[in-house]
Symmetry: C2
């Protein structure tokens, strides 16, 4: 026996999401069956709306309902700094900090020769284009602190340095509220290397 067709199709859809296997997908699909009608309608609509109403800002690559996005449009923001991040989510994380007042550039990925992702496959050419036109003085590389993120930061820094721009990288060190015992050796050695005076 199989699941009734509608359930089976919904299970397939859930399984397309990351980290959701057949068992979880089935659990979620059966949960939907018992959800309130209006919640399901809203869910279904939201899925379509996200796909239809959101585009990427043609300047910075952030998701937005209007192009250019509200960050690129904001006259209050410091146009001399661009913070380069890998994903849209990272912009939202940075904005949550409520401290950074510059602009962003979303790469939508990182350079990863293993996965066949080169600089042209991510938003690198668009970044170089922006550097020509704008009154930019500093680039902050906020790519992830892993191999792909680091290599992307290195690659971009080599392209940007000849243009005479300042290029910086987010600091490595111990996470605040963390425990020395649980820090890995590399993080600890970075924290040691970049220790600050009290």
């Amino acid at each position: 026996m199989h699941y009734p067709a509608p359930i089976s199709k919904l299970i397939d859809s859930f399984m397309k999401l990351p980290g959701i296997g057949p068992k979880t997908a089935a659990r979620l699909a059966f949960y939907v069956l018992n959800m309130k009608e209006e919640d399901v309608v809203q869910f279904s609509k939201s899925l379509m709306d996200v796909k239809r109403d959101l585009t990427f800002c043609s300047t910075c690559g952030h998701i937005t309902e209007v192009d250019p996005c509200y960050i690129c449009k904001d006259k209050e923001r410091d146009r001399s700094v661009i913070c380069v991040v890998q994903e849209t989510k990272d912009v939202i994380m940075m904005e949550r900090m409520r401290e950074y007042k510059g602009l962003y550039h979303v790469l939508h990925g990182a350079i990863s020769p293993m996965d066949g992702v080169g600089p042209e496959d991510i938003n690198v050419p668009q970044l170089l284009e922006r550097l020509k036109d704008e009154e930019v003085k500093e680039i902050i590389m906020a790519t992830n602190p892993n191999i792909e993120g680091e290599s992307t930061a290195m690659y971009i820094s080599r392209l940007v340095k000849p243009l005479g721009l300042k290029i910086t990288r987010l600091a490595h060190g111990l996470p605040v509220g963390g425990d020395l015992e649980y820090a890995d050796e590399v993080t600890l050695s970075k924290a040691m290397e970049f220790r600050t005076e009290l």
Copy 2:
């Protein structure tokens, strides 16, 4: 800063699902943003279809596209046995076994005084109704082997016994492929009590 409205609504919808918190919901919503258009359309449609096209069989309570469901309609099946389960999913689990040829009855829950769920809140009255009309000889209680499931089984057995019907319960014991070391004491003592001759 907040998420753009469409993303934020989709995150809310994902958060309504069981076991999905704000972080996972955000991860899934951003994943949807990058999914293929046709997959999202299919996902959105499946959600509505499940809600619209599926109903519960008026006889056994199993989900179905047509009422009565294909199990209740099947002339080949043994109408003298009814297997009582808590959820629709359990019917599918039982059917996967490909051994049971009787009918089902889905309770859609279990008696749980702690949560204010009484016999009238689940499909118990409908079960008693079925017992009057049909040529039923045996009821197999296949509710979950936990407190709620066991009490539900006990409760129903007390109602059914006076009708002169045979009522059985799924066996307790060691799971096949399991390891004695990891069995809990209660399971082990049940396995001991109901040991079979070789």
